[in-house]
């Protein structure tokens, strides 16, 4: 599904060059469930952002679905991730001014899907996560776990091939966290590729593959 080849990312402080990612080589197949682990500052989030095309490496090659995305124009690239990638964040990042229903609906609007069709798709999603009763509430009226459910529903609505999750359970208690991980597991069973960044050994275990990062390098894989 995606290949990273010799990815470097750095920033310059004075005459020093500080590396965030150093020579990352990764090959992730369709249907995998990958957990990225590592201490704070090891480059996990940056790596995820590079894979999500939100950030660009300074050097290296990135092939996504057989396309060299680093040489694409911004517009083409956003076209790709719009239709293939769903993002889930630690801080949920729901739009405060929109209701649950509208938050889930938003990505469809950007894909120019017709109103009638959107209604059905959102309704399915609300059903699936059993949040129909909450559809008219605003994010600040929900618990953290519920907000993250909405976040995942929003990521899934475009039927992405890949879900990128940055510490999806970081702000949740263990019970809520477990629920979320079970949902990921279930999704993975349906064929969705999942890449998550996590601190928790336990959550990492849900994945089929764990990548350990340290100081911007892949330290080990298991």
């Amino acid at each position: 599904m995606l290949q990273l080849k010799n990815i470097y990312k750095w920033f310059n402080t004075g005459s020093n060059r500080t590396f965030i990612l150093k020579d990352i080589n990764l090959d992730i197949k369709q249907g995998e469930f990958v957990s990225i682990m590592g201490p704070s500052g090891s480059g996990k989030s940056t790596l995820l952002n590079v894979m999500g095309m939100l950030d660009e490496p300074n050097e290296g090659k990135y092939i996504f679905l057989d396309q060299d995305v680093l040489h694409m124009k911004e517009k083409q690239r956003s076209e790709i991730y719009k239709s293939h990638i769903g993002f889930v964040f630690q801080a949920y990042h729901l739009i405060d001014e929109l209701t649950v229903y509208e938050n889930i609906e938003t990505p469809l609007i950007y894909q120019n899907i017709k109103s009638g069709e959107r209604k059905g798709m959102v309704a399915d999603m609300l059903d699936r996560f059993q949040i129909v009763g909450k559809k008219d509430l605003f994010p600040n009226q929900l618990s953290g776990g519920q907000q993250q459910l909405v976040g995942i529903a929003r990521a899934l609505i475009v039927k992405p091939k890949l879900i990128l999750a940055d510490e999806p359970t970081g702000n949740l208690n263990s019970k809520q966290g477990e629920e979320i991980m079970n949902i990921f597991k279930e999704l993975n069973g349906e064929g969705v590729t999942i890449i998550q960044v996590t601190h928790s050994e336990k959550n990492a275990e849900y994945g089929s593959r764990i990548i350990h990062l340290l100081d911007g390098r892949i330290e080990k894989e298991s």
């Binding site: 939100l54 719009k82 990042h93 509208e102 950007y110 894909q111």
Partner: protein, 791 residues
């Protein structure tokens, strides 16, 4: 998609009420100002343009030493004979007021004029009754406007009824027309057929210089006619009809109908005021400036809060929004706010329009808000606001990169501080220019009405004597009235009823005729008006008759300067020749006094005794119980002159009327300066509120370190003090330049003193202090524990 944008916009407005209120109210006030200014400008610049033939209509005026809109009544018949190609030629004789008798009751009514049967051809009216082609053909016919007909005949049929005019003519009503629009130079209420008076004025027709005040001649040229060609034929026209001598000095300029309102050369004897087009261009500029101030508020508040929306921008981008979609979203929000502001602005305009029409003495009705041109302007203003105010913030906000804005602790920086400060400077500068402008206009008007008049105008009323044989009876009556301090009989108080005549002074080498004012006064006149005698004595009571050709006269300073004399004493005993035949000996010199508006230079003036010309009474009243005194005068006057209706005028009011145009400008300036200040202050308040919130932590730390409330207030204020000072450096010279030029349109003007600038900058500081003060103090008294609590 649009629905989604509007939904977010609406919720955002609801969530950030203060911010939205500032923006919407500011924009609404701006839009309302624009609409009002548009209506005023449309009204003023549209003077006389609603007549169908207005582009081909000219008024034949007189230029001989001076510009006079009135011409001899002999001009119209001569034009008809000599220029048969003219489509229409019409004679009007405008009388400011008329004495009417209806059902045995007497009334004084304004706006009466005589006009011939060709008048309706040129000035098309909406005829409710009567036939425009024949209504003014026969003698003793009168056409009324709807409101006059209604005033005197109620709901009864006015057509065919009779009105007695000036105790003399018995007129039959032959037509009723819709009220004449307010923006015409000829605002009449009644037209009496010219045939009614034709025989009475026959004598004047043969004399080129026998000019009845308000005798106007109008012509309509055929289509594709070259007016300049006709103008060049006028010299020959005068020579042919009135002789070489007259043709040498006199010109008959053909004044386009649509220029009459703006031709300030004809300051005297105009029925409606004249004005300059520049005034209205200035108003348009003010409208633009007010909109700019409101847009600056919008830009400043939007960029100051941009970071608040950064997360949303990040999320939307991650969810697949492109930048252009985000720009559209933000512009959509702006559009939404502008739409609300637009509706509010229209409501505000509709609400205040009647009040403003009174203030600015305009005849504009609320219905005019529904004109297509008004709607077009509203839409244009709204679109320009959306572009001016919305585009930049939309670009800034949509530029945030998701990766930065989505971090759990965003370290985003978009301060845009320099831009914001520059914009605030612009706002302050605009406000200061408007404050300075308003002050200059105010000082100039005060100067006009109250300074250097050269005579005492306090509590003086002026009224007519219809019958001169009763002068002494009236004088006794007035002197016995305890409410009357002083009385004088004359041809008119210093500012009322000017007569002019020619003068030469062979003795001083002035052979070419020049023009002088002429006032016939009694022996009490100079004392009563406190005119200052510089040399010699005032006039003496003599038994002169109209046929006398030797006179003792008092002249003003300007006159002796014309004669080449500087020392008033040396002028005593000099001769001047008045009206070609009167030998006048100067027996007194009086300090210059204002007899015309200060738009013009003071002219030579001759004062002499001639009781046959005492048409007017001036009476200075005791300031207590004035109404009672006037009622008593009215009673005495009315019993002496039962055929007439008593009407009087205060000199104060008469003088103020000269400057009604400047008064209107002053009112407009005051109003729009105030609006500009209000909008600017609201924006400033928004910014300081935001800054106070943003710097809460800093304030907390400073307080813990020992800062006092004053220190904190100073922390917030010092920046604005600097900004105001910079704005002042821009505004002061700019305002000086603009207002200096404005003042040059008057013959006499104030100096723009330093005090005006001091007031302007002080008021800016005071306004800013009030705006900033509350939030600064609020931030200063917050317990630092609250702001320093770690998240």
């Amino acid at each position: 998609m649009i629905k989604n944008y509007f939904k977010t916009a609406w919720r955002y407005i609801k969530k950030h009420k203060a911010y939205s209120l500032i923006n919407i109210l500011g924009l609404a006030l701006g839009i309302a100002s624009c609409l009002i200014i548009f209506l005023v400008v449309q009204y003023e610049l549209g003077y006389d343009q609603f007549y169908k033939k207005s582009d081909r209509t000219y008024r034949v005026t007189l230029n001989q030493l001076d510009f006079n809109p009135s011409v001899s009544m002999g001009v119209v018949p001569a034009l008809r004979t000599d220029f048969p190609e003219l489509e229409d030629v019409s004679q009007v004789w405008y009388r400011k007021s008329a004495l009417l008798e209806i059902h045995n009751e007497k009334y004084e009514e304004k706006g009466m004029m005589y006009a011939d049967k060709y008048f309706p051809e040129i000035f098309d009216q909406h005829w409710l009754e009567g036939n425009p082609k024949t209504a003014l053909t026969d003698p003793n016919s009168i056409v009324l406007t709807e409101s006059i007909a209604h005033k005197y005949f109620g709901n009864k049929e006015a057509m065919g009824q009779f009105i007695k005019l000036e105790n003399k003519y018995n007129l039959k009503i032959t037509g009723v027309i819709k009220n004449v629009l307010g923006n015409t130079h000829l605002p009449f209420n009644m037209i009496v057929s010219f045939a009614t008076v034709e025989n009475d004025v026959k004598g004047m027709m043969s004399n080129f210089y026998a000019i009845a005040d308000g005798s106007f001649a109008y012509i309509v040229t055929p289509k594709n006619y070259h007016i300049s060609q006709m103008q060049s034929l006028m010299h020959g026209f005068i020579e042919k009809n009135w002789g070489k001598d007259i043709a040498k000095d006199a010109k008959l300029p053909l004044q386009p109908l649509t220029d009459i309102h703006f031709d300030q050369r004809y300051l005297n004897n105009t029925i409606s005021y004249t004005t300059s087009r520049e005034t209205y261009y200035a108003l348009i500029a003010i409208a633009v400036l007010i909109i700019i101030i409101a847009c600056i508020n919008f830009i400043n508040l939007a960029t100051a809060q941009a970071i608040r929306r950064a997360k949303e921008v990040g999320v939307r981008k991650v969810l697949g929004s492109t930048r252009s979609q985000l720009i559209k979203q933000f512009l959509g929000e702006t559009t939404f706010m502008v739409l609300i502001a637009m509706i509010l602005g229209l409501l505000v305009t509709a609400f205040f329009l009647p009040l403003l029409s009174t203030w600015l003495s305009l005849k504009i009705s609320i219905a005019q808000l529904l004109q297509s041109s008004v709607i077009l302007v509203t839409v244009l203003v709204a679109i320009s606001i959306i572009i001016l105010a919305g585009l930049y913030p939309a670009f800034v906000q949509s530029a945030f990169r998701p990766i930065e804005s989505l971090k759990s602790k965003p370290s985003l920086t978009f301060s845009g501080l320099t831009l914001r400060k520059s914009l605030v400077v612009i706002q302050f500068a605009i406000c200061q220019v408007m404050i300075i402008g308003t002050l200059v206009v105010a000082y100039q008007i005060d100067f006009f009405e109250n300074r250097d008049l050269g005579f005492d105008k306090e509590a003086v009323i002026s009224f007519k004597i219809p019958d001169k044989s009763k002068t002494e009876v009236l004088r006794n009556e007035l002197q016995n009235n305890p409410g009357v301090k002083q009385v004088s009989f004359s041809s008119g108080a210093p500012v009322i009823s000017n007569n002019f005549t020619s003068f030469t002074s062979p003795e001083s080498g002035i052979k070419k005729e020049d023009v002088t004012e002429l006032k016939f006064i009694d022996e009490d006149y100079t004392k009563m008006f406190a005119l200052k005698m510089l040399a010699g004595e005032s006039v003496q009571r003599t038994e002169t008759s109209d046929n006398d050709s030797v006179h003792n006269v008092v002249v003003n300073e300007t006159m002796i300067h014309k004669l080449g004399i500087q020392d008033p004493q040396k002028a005593i005993g000099k001769y001047i020749l008045l009206n070609g035949s009167w030998n006048a000996t100067i027996t007194g010199v009086v300090k210059d006094f204002q007899s015309e508006s200060k738009h013009k230079k003071i002219r030579p003036c001759v004062l002499l005794y001639n009781k046959n010309a005492f048409f007017m009474v001036s009476a200075r009243l005791q300031t207590s119980n004035m109404n009672q005194t006037i009622a008593r005068i009215d009673k005495a006057w009315s019993s002496l002159f039962p055929q007439n209706v008593f009407s009087y005028e205060f000199l104060d009011d008469h003088i103020a009327a000269w400057y009604s145009q400047e008064q209107k400008e002053y009112t407009a300036f005051k109003l729009f300066a105030l609006i500009a200040i209000i909008i600017g202050s609201m924006g400033l308040y928004g910014l300081i509120t935001f800054a106070a919130a943003q710097r809460g932590k800093e304030v907390g730390i400073r307080k813990v370190l020992g800062a006092s409330l004053a220190d904190i207030v100073f922390l917030f204020s010092k920046e604005f003090v600097i900004l105001i000072a910079i704005a002042f450096l821009i505004a002061a010279p700019l305002a000086y330049y603009i207002m200096y030029n404005w003042l040059q349109s008057f013959a006499y003007q104030i100096n723009i003193g330093a005090n005006i600038f001091v007031i302007a900058i002080l008021s800016s500081f005071i306004i800013a202090a009030f705006t900033i003060g509350y939030q600064a103090i609020k931030a200063g008294i917050v317990n630092p524990i609250n702001s320093l609590r770690s998240e």
